[in-house]
């Protein structure tokens, strides 16, 4: 089954749901705050319906090339984008868990190493990224880091 065929109208629908939900929430506000949402939301909802019809009618055809942008992502393998999304999610989780200063070198090192970088290259890049974050945020900006989850669990 061609998954994009289903996915495209679903994405349009999702945006429509967001717009509609926003309009619903804004109904409780004074008019001066909600009018922009209601007016634009009404126009947007009408457009969503138009777009949905287009999506369903053209289902099966490949996504039309945009004149204003680079062509859409084409991945060779089925898991192409899922793979990198998992990396991003892992990075996000790592920042939460061990904090920025540890997560950055760890992430850079493991990514480079996994996809073909040598030990030396991976370690050097990791150190470079870590050092950069440290000098910018700790030394220069004195950023108050949020406490990593692991630290608050231990203490």
């Amino acid at each position: 089954m061609n998954w994009t065929k289903v996915e495209r109208p679903l994405f349009t629908l999702l945006i429509g749901v967001v717009l509609a939900g926003a309009m619903l929430v804004s109904l409780e506000w004074p008019v001066r705050a909600s009018i922009i949402i209601l007016v634009l939301g009404a126009i947007g909802s009408a457009l969503i319906i138009v777009q949905l019809v287009v999506d369903i009618k053209s289902a099966g055809k490949s996504s039309q090339a945009l004149t204003m942008e680079a062509p859409a992502v084409k991945t060779d393998s089925r898991w192409g984008t899922l793979e990198i999304w998992s990396w991003i999610a892992a990075f996000f989780a790592a920042i939460h868990l061990v904090g920025f200063l540890a997560a950055v070198p760890l992430f850079v090192f493991s990514y480079t190493k996994t996809y073909g970088g040598g030990w030396l290259l991976s370690a050097a890049l990791g150190a470079l990224a870590g050092g950069f974050v440290y000098s910018l945020f700790n030394v220069l900006l004195h950023v108050p880091w949020p406490t990593p989850l692991i630290v608050s669990l231990i203490s």
Binding site: L140, L141, H142, V143, P144
Partner: protein, 356 residues
């Protein structure tokens, strides 16, 4: 205030102050390292960089460490938004009472508290004041062309401009409209002081108030505006010819709940820019900080720079005095509170929810 700052600065900037090292001052406690030696004090600021509150914080960040034994470093972190509500909530919930967290707030934070609402999750009466810098009461400017319309009920209404309709000086014009019958209406929503200054010059608004004597003098030079009155108990030095608002009210000055409501709204103005430490900060640390603030106020260089920023009418107040005043202006009876809501509604100003 909803500030939509250009891009990267959307909110917080953390900043190392030069107070590190360069200002190695004379005060080193004898025997043993003082508490503040090698430490960093973070000063949270309730507004975006560049305004009066920010300027106050920056001057303090530069000169206060000089008089704290141990000469700590200082970092400034701006947290604008919601007329100081965001920073106030954050500070109240997160600040540690170790003397390393300070907060530079302005009168708006007190006014917001008095008006209440579900998003107010702080109590300014519990914080401990280190000291305050007052720039003198607001000066109300009016365009000369619009002035005759002020007392002529048949003329087009005189337009008062403000950012969010809750600045303390707005109270004076509301009470003037109510008790002197002034022919005014309120337009608010301007993003900030810059836009308001521009709008006043363009004639989009006719009346605007600010404590910044420097700004006022700049405007006066252009010759199209004059000062209506000053929002102050006693006439400011340098503006001796300008009447105070109470003088303008004269025998029309109301009593009871109305006046109490007026004071609750306008009172915080007098405190202006105040520096606080979180509740629970140990007494000895508070004493050190408060004393440093007093000493700083006598520093010649500090005085010079404060004058550069605030004009010549500024003065400082001690921590204890500031503390008392904060308590005073944030305590309001139910009756006065209701009056406040009613009169704000009457003049089309945003009311927020009632505090329960």
């Amino acid at each position: 205030m909803k500030s939509r700052l250009p891009y990267h600065l959307s909110a917080s900037l953390a900043v190392v102050s030069l107070a590190l090292g360069v200002n190695l001052g004379p005060t080193r406690a004898e025997g043993g390292d003082p508490y503040y030696a090698g430490k960093t004090v973070k000063i949270l600021v309730s507004s975006s960089p560049g305004g009066g509150t920010d300027a106050a914080a920056r001057v303090v960040a530069r000169f206060l460490p000089k008089y704290i034994p141990g000469n700590p470093q200082t970092i400034i972190q701006n947290m604008p938004g919601g007329g100081g509500t965001i920073a106030n909530n954050y500070f109240y919930a997160n600040a540690k009472a170790d003397g390393l967290w300070l907060f530079q707030d302005s009168s708006a934070g007190l006014g917001n508290f008095s008006r209440g609402g579900s998003h107010i999750n702080y109590d300014p009466r519990e914080n401990l004041a280190v000291g305050s810098i007052t720039r003198g009461g607001s000066l109300m400017m009016i365009s000369k062309a619009a002035k005759p319309r002020l007392t002529d009920p048949k003329a087009k209404k005189v337009v008062v401009g403000d950012s969010d309709g809750i600045r303390t000086w707005v109270s004076t014009l509301v009470w003037a409209a109510e008790y002197l019958g002034w022919n005014v209406r309120f337009v608010y929503g301007y993003p900030g002081t810059q836009e308001l200054q521009l709008a006043l010059r363009q004639g989009e608004i006719d009346v605007w108030g600010t404590s910044n004597a420097k700004l006022v003098r700049g405007l006066m030079k252009e010759g199209k505006h004059e000062i209506l009155f000053q929002h102050e108990d006693d006439r400011r030095p340098g503006f001796k010819e300008v009447p105070t608002f109470v003088e303008v009210l004269g025998d029309k000055k109301p009593k009871g709940a109305s006046w109490e409501a007026y004071l609750a709204w306008s009172g915080p103005n007098e405190i202006d820019k105040f520096l606080i430490a979180p509740r629970g900060t140990p007494d000895n640390i508070m004493a050190t900080l408060r004393q440093a603030f007093v000493q700083m106020a006598k520093d010649e260089e500090f005085k010079q720079q404060a004058t550069n920023f605030f004009g010549d009418a500024w003065r400082t107040r001690t921590g204890k005095k500031t503390q008392l005043m904060i308590r005073e202006v944030t305590t309001i009876s139910k009756e006065a509170e209701d009056f406040l809501t009613k009169i704000r509604k009457k003049y089309g100003l945003p009311t927020g929810e009632q505090r329960r």
